[in-house]
Symmetry: D3
């Protein structure tokens, strides 16, 4: 008899045959306000069976695409550096094996582990960053490694004018002023996203989606809900506009099931993950 395999819906293929690899990074050790993102990836696996594997938006089905679900990494909550290193090493292997990684957080700091791996494979890496928060502080509560500093750390790896932020509607004054000189910030919405192709069409791009970019009405289950966000439909359309770009890896972070008593945030995240897998897996 077979053991109980537990994957995201439609993602039960073997590693070797899969181009897309999804995995969980259940770390929320620096979350300063409302914790729980650690529970996101396993919770999404459970709840993914409430959605269909077929997308009426794209007329594609997860059944048509080979996806391997690697489960959750074992990440030490009290030791931030070690956790980031575990992520880095895992993605490193995926990239060496020619996979397209999709990481499910966890808090946003896990992106640093990912970018640390990608930058080695793609020295010219660019980052598209969807988020309510700029995450550009140099330190937060005295720490260099924090969900609130993650894009600053990423900037240290990729350099000026390589990070493109959309949807930002929260930050402290200093980081936002600093950001004007070092990254592209589009506040509140996705205005101008269709022009990205002209600028970075062929560059390798890492896409990091902090789900709190979505309005709390549609996505209450997150650590720091910020009123005035984008809708799921707007987010979907923004993602479609990235279709011609050279995306090489993706993460989705900051779902906290603890603060999602009705379950709608998890259901949305599952649906978004399906769309993301289908969009970038369709030709692979």
């Amino acid at each position: 008899m077979n053991k109980n395999i537990h994957t995201f819906i439609g993602c039960d293929d073997e590693y070797e045959e899969s181009k897309i690899v999804i995995f969980g990074a259940p770390f929320d050790g620096t979350t300063s306000y409302r914790p729980g993102a650690r529970f996101a990836p396993s919770h999404m696996r459970n709840e993914s069976y409430g959605i269909e594997s077929y997308s009426p938006y794209l007329d594609l089905d997860l059944e048509d695409i080979k996806v391997f679900d690697g489960g959750d990494l074992e990440l030490s909550l009290g030791n931030t550096k070690k956790a980031l290193n575990t992520i880095k090493n895992y993605i490193d292997r995926l990239l060496k094996d020619g996979k397209f990684p999709i990481m499910i957080g966890g808090e946003h700091l896990v992106t640093l582990g990912a970018v640390s791996a990608f930058i080695n494979h793609y020295p010219n890496l660019h980052i598209i960053h969807f988020d309510a928060h700029a995450d550009l502080r140099d330190t937060y509560m005295g720490e260099k490694l924090s969900h609130a500093t993650v894009m600053r750390r990423c900037w240290e790896l990729v350099g000026d004018n390589r990070i493109f932020q959309f949807g930002i509607r929260s930050g402290d004054r200093e980081e936002l002023y600093w950001g004007k000189d070092h990254v592209f910030i589009n506040k509140f919405n996705f205005a101008g996203i269709e022009r990205l192709g002209g600028r970075i069409k062929d560059s390798p791009i890492y896409l990091t989606i902090d789900l709190d970019i979505i309005d709390p009405s549609e996505f209450p289950g997150t650590g720091t809900p910020e009123a005035g966000g984008v809708t799921f439909k707007e987010l979907l359309e923004a993602i479609w506009k990235l279709d011609s770009l050279n995306i090489v890896g993706i993460d989705m972070v900051e779902l906290s099931p603890i603060y999602d008593p009705s379950g709608i945030s998890t259901a949305l995240a599952c649906k978004l993950l399906r769309e993301v897998i289908l969009q970038w897996g369709k030709g692979k």
Copy 2:
């Protein structure tokens, strides 16, 4: 002293004097994912006292209209066929008595019980179907009778081109492809609903409203929340556009109070029921 009568707000008239009859069909026996629709009608009665009987949209008041609330049917949860038969027989009597039935589900399968009764009284019955899900599968988990097959079963009763679906944003590939040949499907929204009058103006029409057509932000309390839905305002406007049609009966299904911790879904459903009663009861 009088006994404790428990009705939806403003619906405390006698059966004989009422044209409109509302009743509950508390069945969710085939719900495969998140149960609880069984609790919807009684919960709506309780919570209906949080809204007003007067509608500022229509400038009408439930006090002006005679409505009888028949309470909840006793439906066997383990015996699907019997439950559907109980619904059919009840509506059969209402139609014989010349009433306008409004049924409160329960899961969507209860619509099959209703349509089985209506088709006998109106052989030319058409169905307008608001829903996030197509519900057009032939079988689901091996079963013919399921919330996911209910419109396929209804199609077997009414035939090709009699079902008009709006808002559909979820389904498996097979059912959606099948649907193209047998029913009218408008995906995602209410586009084209104003043209229904030209096609089926005088035909008797059953209107079935699966409340999960509404976006989960406004209506989290349902079994299968699907991001990307319509708003309450859009739904209301769509309903206004049906005003000139020959609607002969209505249901509202798939509210699950279990997944509505803030109560906003139930409050919305109560308000929608008020608007529906006022719109179709105003001339009666």
Copy 3:
């Protein structure tokens, strides 16, 4: 060592140096349906540390403005008159000291205590009223003092054509008909708000914001959720349009944390309070 001071974020200045004074009025004694507004002000203080003190909308920071947080008044829940009197006396002192009061309810009836104080200082007082409900009944459940009668009582103090209501989408027929002759009512939204300047530009204006004007999807945590409301963005824009008016005091009422299991309502209220403080505190 210092004691544990507990204030809304960025509002820890001394009374003497502050122009803006915020305080809580934790009273919900006449709430007929879903209670809990009593918990709003202290809950907002706790949760305010989840937002930033800086506003990317206004490019202003609470750190730049002197604000005193007076804590919560001690209000007797069983004795409505006494509670209103306590509010009146407190605001009276603030006005004598030249402060700009911002009161956090509590239920909407607390506005009557405030207006009773303001009318003495500003005999020509006008009221701008954002709300889902007209609150214009003469009595409610036999009582003169109620959340459902508060604007009628305020009308008795300020007189005809001094109250401007926006967003109203619920009421009984009688109060809404009465209102047509005595107050300005704009149903459902903020249409026409930009024309207020022409009518009451120099008059002293009290702004009362019943947070249930916001759609329940964005603000579920309130006593009487009414589908079909305005968005946070629309509310913010409406407030910006009041910038040139002579606002002399503000309240925000009807957040009930009990019905806000995900916390998004409280987070929104905190953000709105920040924006309100910044907008009216920026020149002071």
Copy 4:
């Protein structure tokens, strides 16, 4: 067709034929801490269908006893005196009609309305009081009428040595010291309850059960949970020991469904109500 009658399970008899009358007193207007007792009686009706009408403790069935459920009184939340008067008048009529009243609160202050009626019919009235709190303050937050003063007000009606308290484990020092001279207080448990028969065997006795006497582990859904309470089994045994006394009326108060997310408090209260009805209704 019959209207939707809504009663506690097994309590659907006519008024005239019933000796026992149960009714709800949905008032919590003076609750200073956690509200919601207003919702208790209607919530108990809904949930009572989760228990059986038969008691394996007493080998009796509600089907054997005639009980009328009068529904909920309409009580003004903002006007404490009027609410108490409504209760008094209702019970007054029940007593004139020879009924045995069982009142479901609401907060504990409703007991004062009841005792005000009983004292007229039974000048020699005694009170047995089960509670975590002494409720013997003269005033609370400046008010004479409060859930925290209710037994002091009752004492003013019945006089010294007529009140017998059990289970008390909370109070302020002053009220507990005062109580030593005026009432019988047994702290923490039911010790000595079997000796009541010798003291007040033939006197008419009103039994008031504040459900927060039960340990919060078994009964979390109450306004002021106090660790260290009695168990359901101990409470049941205590009630059995009152069987030979001349109980003339009963109330059960302080269930707050808002704070009972798992539903166990409501279920316990329903079961206790069944046992109380059966015990005092069996010979009637």
Copy 5:
């Protein structure tokens, strides 16, 4: 890379090498009151990582015992007979393979599927039944197959005096009177359980544990909470007293995670499952 295996803690051994096999039966299709038992087995797997694999009660560790976790059966919610047949066939195979089955419900009706398999292998089967409810009705709401009739159906398979019930504290009068003649019923607690050895020492025994036997204070998360239950410690001691009996299979049913907001019911169920596995797996 390995796929994501998801098992109860410490139960990740291969089928062939394991004597103990645990699996989920996620069916609650006849649950008449509060649903959700369908979610129990997968929820227990998730939460089992909050307990230790070592038992300080037995000084044994799951690491020492070979246990295979077969995952959840696919059971049709709308088709009761088919679901029971799926269970029967699965257990049939386990018994043929010489395994010791431990089934995690699901509602109590799943026991009928299990007993239908065991009776073929053990014609002399006895049943020990821990429960708050007798479950001895002949029909419930008109149905033969129901959580409320399951032990009656089992009785039809095993015959008179083969069923031993403990902890029963709820039922209708008829079933309890019937039960006196056909099964052994010990109401309320485990009195006399130590004498079972003398009666049925060598007979093959199926042990079915309806978790609602535990007091709702310790186990709120169940469909029909009944005040006055046994404690976890008492249940553990009762189980120890069965150690010398010839138990051939076990089930644990009626955990409903929906009604377990604090998670303590699931945690208790996990711990109990660990103890049960250790006790009966220790010599195997």
Copy 6:
């Protein structure tokens, strides 16, 4: 006007005049399973106004005792060592000032910060440890600093036979076997606690109370609920038995308000804190 001071009920005295100092250590950075202990101390302050300042157990009142509430320390969630150092330094100052510290966690690791300070002032320090878990691992998930290793780290500071554990009912085999040689472990309950006086009567003793020693029925709101715990009454009696010992400091840890939807855990913790303050503050 005074600022808004926020303290535990009855603890609003000045630092200089107070012998007892309470403060919060809102750290849960190594919590591996269910987080939220970070919210405990501020939540307890809020909810403490639901209890009385008077204890009917001790006939003492917080009003009689001088207690300073120092608020919450600012602890870095991502930097465990720094957080522990902050705690150590704060307590160090309290001890130098001759205060009796009572620390409110936070997770159990905060105890290490405290013991690090106490051991300097009391080289002969002993520790009494109430807990469900032994917390004696050398490492946990590869880390030396963890809630699961805290007593091992403390043992490194105080040495063999200085730690006395009560109530332990969970751990891995290795730590419990190790513990037999190095600390005193009384499993499951408080047996033998009255004999502590004979062994360590005059030694300085630090008392650490992990609240999960209490049964989850009474205390669900904790990170790792373990069925089979002690009751509040048993805990209180155990504490009374320590009255003659030379307790020099105390902590209470592991309340997680996130998992306490009914609020009973927080209410219990507040009551226990009151009793602890009164018992050790009465002579000071």
